[in-house]
């Protein structure tokens, strides 16, 4: 194995200068992205440094409680983020709940499956395996669910006249919203399907690249990458399926009426018209 080249703060500073340059350009061109870039960039540094500290501690402890605690925090943050990414979201606890519950069911199942049945580290919750796996599955599932739910609520809003017309003609809520549900599913799943299709040709997946940079033999890194891509796609798929199913149900009440008053635009209290 080749020795891992350690990065100095100066090295990272040079990379950060690129983001700064991009932000400056954005301000000059009035793209309205400069602030977002700077804030997100700063968040990357702070969050990852924190995670580094926490992971160092957890790896030393090797304790299930710590792994579980971190997993829950990751889930809650992912749930919040998935909600924040939606232009039109469900109001009240549903806005957070639909995505978070779906993410929990799919990501945790996928990760447990990988740990218990596929990789089999000893003990099964070994944080070196459990936390990165969960992180990768959760991160992609989050994006998929956010995309799918965003499309679901937005399309339901845009096509409310058509949905209600179909209800008037005697269709059930499930029939009236079927096309929208299918489009939402596709929207959520296509990024991970595309990622599988172009893996290794157009893009070298990040995890594999990282392992290779860290000195793993390429074939070992590739095998892990294949496993992770399947887990990600399955996790995203099942999570998106659950979220769209739950969301499509929430759009209608017990009398199968379209209830867009249960959604609201980002930053507003109730359904805006």
């Amino acid at each position: 194995m080749t020795e891992l080249i350690l990065l100095s703060p100066l090295d990272l500073g040079m990379a950060a200068a690129l983001i700064l340059l991009l932000a400056l350009l954005s301000w000059r061109m009035r793209l309205g992205l400069g602030n977002d870039l700077m804030i997100s960039g700063a968040r990357t540094v702070v969050q990852l440094l924190l995670v580094g500290l926490i992971l160092t501690a957890v790896f030393e402890q090797q304790h299930l409680v710590w792994v579980a605690l971190i997993s829950v925090v990751m889930l809650l943050v992912a749930g919040r983020e998935a909600m924040a990414q939606q232009e039109r979201r469900f109001s009240g606890w549903w806005g957070f709940g639909v995505g978070t519950l779906s993410m929990f069911v799919s990501s945790f199942t996928m990760t447990l499956f990988a740990l218990l049945a596929v990789i089999g580290p000893e003990p099964w919750y070994t944080p070196q395996y459990a936390i990165p796996l969960l992180g990768m599955v959760l991160g992609n599932t989050m994006t998929g669910i956010a995309l799918a739910l965003d499309r679901l609520t937005q399309n339901a809003w845009d096509q409310r006249a058509i949905i209600e017309q179909r209800l008037m003609l005697g269709e059930t809520a499930a029939e009236a919203v079927r096309d929208i549900r299918r489009h939402s599913m596709r929207n959520g799943m296509i990024p991970s399907i595309n990622a599988m299709a172009v893996a290794g040709i157009v893009s070298l997946p990040g995890m594999m690249t990282g392992q290779i940079l860290a000195g793993s033999p390429p074939m070992e890194a590739v095998k892990y990458q294949i496993l992770v891509m399947f887990l990600i796609t399955a996790g995203t798929g099942f999570g998106t399926l659950a979220a769209v199913w739950l969301g499509a149900r929430r759009l209608f009440d017990e009398r199968q009426r379209l209830r867009l008053d249960r959604t609201r635009l980002r930053g507003r209290e109730s359904a805006g018209s």
Partner: protein, 197 residues
């Protein structure tokens, strides 16, 4: 018989009236008085309180989709989502497009080609193809010329007498109300006032 007792939604009501089998009731009123919302509530598209009974059966005992199939709301702006006209009709629909001035080729027409008047006329056929007990018509002749409006009135009257169906007809035109309905209501600020015949 369609019975509406103390029907109210967040915006309209309370409203009570009856439509007996084979009867047509006309409702008129200023725009914004709640006529369309009343029809939406009867079709169970908006949450409502009170009682709605069709032939003695309360609405909540009927599955929502069956209720709406039997109590067809024809909205002021009917929507067409599929590519051709025929995709919006049940297979073997028992309706005759000639009654509304269409040729037999109308089934294959692309929906994009339809004018607003054609959409409105075909929407009536589409509603009748579901064989409803009740027709809730929201200004069904608003975009039509006199001849087409006459066809629509004749077709509704024909369906009503042949199937002893009930019709609630929201209309602005005073002469039409007299022509099509046996009983007239005025909607004022979300409430119904009966007019002398």
């Amino acid at each position: 018989m369609l019975e509406i007792r103390d029907l109210s939604t967040a915006v309209i009501g309370p409203v009570s009236f009856k439509v007996t089998a084979g009867q047509c009731v006309a409702i008129s009123g200023a725009s914004g008085s709640g006529k369309s919302l009343l029809l939406r509530a009867i079709a169970d598209l908006d949450p409502w309180q009170g009682e709605i009974l069709l032939d003695g059966t309360p609405a909540y005992l009927v599955p929502a989709e069956c209720w709406r199939r039997g109590v067809q709301l024809l909205p002021a702006e009917p929507q067409w989502w599929a590519a051709t006209v025929s995709e919006h009709f049940p297979p073997q629909a028992n309706v005759d497009p000639a009654r509304l001035g269409f040729g037999a080729d109308v089934w294959q027409w692309p929906v994009q080609r339809l004018s607003s008047g054609e959409k409105q006329r075909l929407a009536l056929l589409r509603a009748l193809a579901r064989q409803p007990r009740v027709l809730l018509l929201d200004e069904p002749t608003a975009n039509l010329d006199e001849a087409s409006a006459g066809w629509v009135e004749a077709l509704v009257a024909d369906y009503r007498t042949r199937h002893q169906a009930m019709v609630v007809w929201v209309s602005h035109a005073g002469t039409q109300r007299v022509r099509v309905a046996d009983c007239h209501y005025q909607m004022v600020k979300g409430r119904l006032e009966q007019e002398a015949a």
